[in-house]
Symmetry: C2
Subunit: 120 residues, 2 copies
DNA sequence: TGCAATAGTTTCAAAAAATGAACTATGGAG
DNA sequence: CTCCATAGTTCATTTTTTGAAACTATTGCA
């Protein structure tokens, strides 16, 4: 389980998972390769600055790769590395916890009024 | 595994795990009931304000309980709830990731010079 | 030449989080 | 009446993070 003799050892992962958008961003990437604009839309209203900041950090930590495709218009794809894929169990554990203890916002959204629904 | 149809569902846990000291604090509490001063020493140099802020938040979210023991000197004990205990698998998954991909700072500390060691 | 579409960067302001130092509260012992 | 030890609180300041708006870069096409 958890090795209590080396408490500082979780720090590398704290650096990776830290930041307002990081977990949501990683969730998107678990779903597969994504382009910059696509991530921006799915994580709306994230700012482009914050998105690049996060992606650069994850790149530095070896969690994602950035691939530029020249051509018109150019585009860029972000993809999880092997190392990044291995983060999935952490999310699965979070997910399991939420199932048992949290609430899924979607469930309550089922009975929103038509007017509210229209504005989405 | 992860339910992609309900992406917003991880948010409750983001609120719980957020903050510079939270994960380290929870690690301490997994080890057992702890008093305020004890946590403060183990998490040094955390400020008392930050520590109370975190503990209050965790209390509000039903993750820890606070028990006051009157008497002289008075003392307070913080303990994980059942709900809080169930967060352990998340940490275990983080730990496993670090084992495979990260570095344990302790390992490198084995060959520090005597002068450096003396200052600890 | 200038526009369209992608993916950013830059700069500055605003908001949120953490820190540090000093102070409060409790209650018995001396 | 003061002191000790515990567990905080308060407030001003600093540091860190996030955000918004406007601007840059690339390259083919009309």
């Amino acid at each position: 389980m958890i090795d209590r003799s080396c408490p500082g050892a979780i720090e590398p992962i704290l650096e990776i998972l830290d930041g307002k958008w990081t977990l949501l961003l990683l969730l998107e990437l678990f779903d597969g390769t994504k382009r910059f604009g696509e991530l921006r839309r799915k994580l709306h209203p994230i700012s482009p600055k914050t998105l690049t900041d996060r992606l650069r950090l994850l790149e530095d930590k070896g969690i994602v790769t950035r691939t530029l495709y020249p051509g018109v218009p150019l585009h860029v794809e972000y993809e999880l590395t092997e190392r990044g894929q291995r983060l999935q169990p952490i999310f699965a554990a979070m997910w399991a916890w939420v199932q048992e203890n949290g609430v899924c916002p979607g469930k309550e959204a089922e009975n929103i009024s038509p007017e509210e629904a229209g504005s989405l």
